[in-house]
């Protein structure tokens, strides 16, 4: 294991440091030193870039700020680099050559905050293509109403343009050319093999971070929960933890246990969902139906415990809103026992089906070295042998009291990632039994708490898809800056690596193996470099027919 004390010594020499909490030290760097520091950090193995955020603090101290959060898993510690950017020269050096994971973060800081980086960046990665130039939504210059007024005329112009097109009788088949609808994935193929992959997304950009700056602290958990309808509770917990961390609030133990219990229930439902969808893509619909059949019991259980099948709505800053009584605990244990038996039977059968085995085994290989360099998270990285798991590396909630060993596999292919998820379902059932047994008495939320401005906090949670990390800078009534980083965001850069030189028919399954958070009825744009033909094809059809779907 590298000597991390050398890293700390180096940083303390060139920068002033300030502790954010007992595990996090923040170093204020001059922007000229940033590239050098990034080079040094990238040479240390086991230091991962967890997130980066840009913040507009010109009203407070006259600067834009960039905050890079690096995590040292084995020490359970974080290093935050704070880099002030002057208003007159809003630029920063790009560190993406040394810290590859910084690529998308720089793109986002460029798009939403207007920080220029020392490399050529495509415009409008997150925002629509015709978004007005030099209007950066996350800057404090613009209120949400201003932004709506600026962009609304363009939408109306677009609508009229679409209407004008309708007047022309153009024979358009069921497949649309790449004019107005960029698909999420563009796959460039030569014959059956994929040679290049481009990703375009952010269809789901709803302006959440900007919205939170005008909401009260206790309204934001509901906003956070709707970031993703499958793993929303991890975002709401992560936000609450970030605020509690920033304001040094001590959440009652019973609340921590309840949060962990609901988190594990969410993990089970998400993995069962994924397994069903994976079987559907392979064409094994029996597996899909049975998986979702046993998953329904988990949804009913979640509704019994929280009041809603999904988007549970039980988190507030300082604890939870609903308690679990003895009756509910007994029901929970009964459901888990049943689930374990049924799942074991089903998964043994399903993974032995010849077509399932042949489609999953050996496809979508992810080399462990790339996984480490890109700072990947979740089952994606655990399937390639790296035991990264927030529950063990940066313990939170009740995982501080109950140990968790990450489930790993070493093969790095789609089967490995599927097996990691299967293992985690069994692990979650065991964990739930422990948590339900050990849950202490006490209150479920803090009586009251006072917000303080200008405090920094980090909240991170292991979602079913990987690490979720939120960074928060508090304001008096609302969060001043809230940065959400979902796991799929971190894992998507790995998809081109897994797809390159693979078969076209394996692409949908490989894309699905990182458990991406977009709609399953999606399509991919396939471009055949040999013939020049391009077609937008539903992923399910691609999985079944491969190159044949192009004809």
């Amino acid at each position: 294991m590298p000597d991390y004390q050398l890293l700390y010594k180096y940083l303390r020499n060139i920068a002033s440091s300030e502790p954010i909490d007992e595990n996090t030290e923040k170093f204020v760097l001059q922007k000229d030193h940033l590239l050098e520091v990034a080079k040094v950090i990238s040479r240390f193995e086991g230091v991962y870039l967890r997130t980066m955020t840009a913040s507009d603090e010109r009203n407070v101290n006259g600067f834009y700020k960039l905050y890079y959060v690096f995590g040292i898993d084995s020490l359970h510690k974080n290093i935050v680099l704070e880099v002030p950017i002057p208003e007159k020269d809003a630029s920063a050096p790009s560190i993406a050559d040394y810290v590859r994971a910084a690529d998308w973060y720089e793109l986002e800081a460029h798009d939403l905050m207007g920080i220029q980086f020392s490399r050529e960046l495509p415009q409008n990665f997150v925002l629509p293509e015709d978004w007005p130039k030099d209007v950066y939504p996350l800057r404090k210059d613009y209120s949400i109403e201003d932004l709506v007024k600026l962009y609304r005329p363009r939408i109306e112009a677009q609508a009229r343009e679409i209407g004008a097109e309708a007047a022309l009788l153009i024979p358009i088949g069921p497949y649309h050319p790449a004019l107005h609808e960029p698909e999420h994935f563009e796959l460039y193929v030569v014959g059956e093999k994929i040679v290049d992959v481009k990703y375009r997304g952010f269809m789901v950009h709803r302006g959440i971070e900007k919205l939170a700056e005008s909401m009260k602290y206790d309204q934001v958990p509901f906003l956070a929960e709707r970031i993703c309808g499958i793993c929303g509770y991890v975002h709401s917990t992560s936000y609450c933890q970030a605020v509690e961390n920033a304001l040094k609030l001590q959440v009652p133990e019973r609340a921590e246990y309840i949060r962990s219990i609901i988190l594990e229930i969410e993990r089970i439902h998400s993995h069962l969902l994924w397994l069903g969808v994976a079987f559907h893509l392979i064409g094994y619909d029996t597996g899909f139906m049975h998986m979702w059949r046993i998953r329904e019991n988990v949804m009913i259980l979640a509704e019994l415990l929280t009041g809603s099948r999904k988007t549970y709505g039980i988190n507030i800053v300082g604890g939870v809103r609903r308690d679990i009584d003895e009756e509910k605990i007994k029901k929970c244990l009964a459901v888990l026992d049943n689930l374990e038996k049924e799942f074991k039977n089903l998964i043994d059968i399903a993974l032995a089906v010849p077509q399932v085995k042949s489609r999953l085994r050996g496809t979508g290989y992810l080399p462990p070295s790339e996984a480490a360099q890109l700072s990947l998270v979740g089952p994606t990285v655990r399937g390639s042998g790296l035991p990264r798991d927030v529950r063990r590396d940066y313990p939170y909630a009740a995982y501080k009291y109950v140990g968790v060993e990450p489930v790993t596999r070493s093969e790095g292919d789609n089967m490995a990632r599927a097996e990691v998820r299967v293992g985690e379902v069994f692990q979650s059932i065991e964990l739930l039994r422990q948590l339900l047994d050990k849950i202490p008495r006490g209150s479920i939320a803090l009586e009251s708490w006072e917000p303080e401005a200008n405090k920094h906090g980090i909240g991170s949670v292991e979602a079913p898809r990987g690490e979720v990390i939120h960074y928060i800078i508090t304001g008096r009534l609302s969060p001043y800056r809230w940065r959400v980083r979902a796991p799929t965001y971190q894992n998507l850069p790995a998809v081109p690596i897994m797809l390159r030189n693979g078969d076209l028919a394996d692409a949908p399954l490989t894309i699905a193996s990182i458990d991406p958070c977009f709609s399953c009825t999606d399509r991919a744009l396939v471009i055949d470099l040999k013939s020049g033909k391009s077609r937008s094809i539903p992923l399910v059809l691609l999985a079944q027919k491969g190159f044949g779907a192009l004809r």
Partner: protein, 168 residues
């Protein structure tokens, strides 16, 4: 060899499980005791304080003033069924029902209005508070200066200042 035909084992599982289909709407839906459906506002208890409108995350509950009435408007189309309004209401006027059969083809039908009479400021004439809220405050606060109760906050400040300035 055994491995190859293992997948056939799913057939006895399927027959043992039988049919799990809930024949909704001919059967009862799968609603549990904790389920949160649409809310119901008790117009007798509501005093028009607006606490619910301040906590509602999607602003499904809003206070609008139309002429002489203050309306608490509930738009169930935007409701996220979180129940924060019920938790926060000081009069316990909001109950959470188990109603989820809310679909309709007229969006107008998804609105519910609770109308409050407004009190007029004696000095400037602005309508500034719901009558029920004022009555409620009067009933709770023991020492309430009656002569300044029907003044809007602005006028009340001016009145208090002018009294402090003129010696009695």
């Amino acid at each position: 060899m055994i491995d190859m035909v293992k997948f056939v084992k799913v057939i006895p599982i399927a027959s043992k499980v039988g049919t799990v289909t809930i024949r909704y709407p001919y059967d009862k839906p799968l609603v549990t005791e904790s389920f949160r459906g649409a809310i119901e506002i008790d117009p007798a208890k509501c005093v028009g304080c607006g606490a619910c409108t301040r906590i509602c995350p999607p602003k499904a509950l809003t206070l609008v003033q139309e002429g002489n009435t203050l309306i608490l408007r509930y738009f169930v189309g935007r409701c996220i069924f979180c129940g924060m309004c019920a938790d926060v209401c000081p009069e316990k006027a909001i109950t959470i029902t188990k109603e989820f059969e809310l679909a309709t083809d007229q969006i107008h039908d998804l609105y519910t209005d609770v109308e409050h009479e407004l009190v007029e400021c004696e000095r400037c004439g602005t309508k500034f508070v719901a009558k029920k809220l004022l009555d409620k405050v009067k009933s709770i606060v023991e020492v309430l200066p009656e002569d300044r109760a029907k003044l809007c906050p602005n006028c009340r400040r001016l009145e208090t200042l002018s009294r402090a300035a003129t010696p009695r």
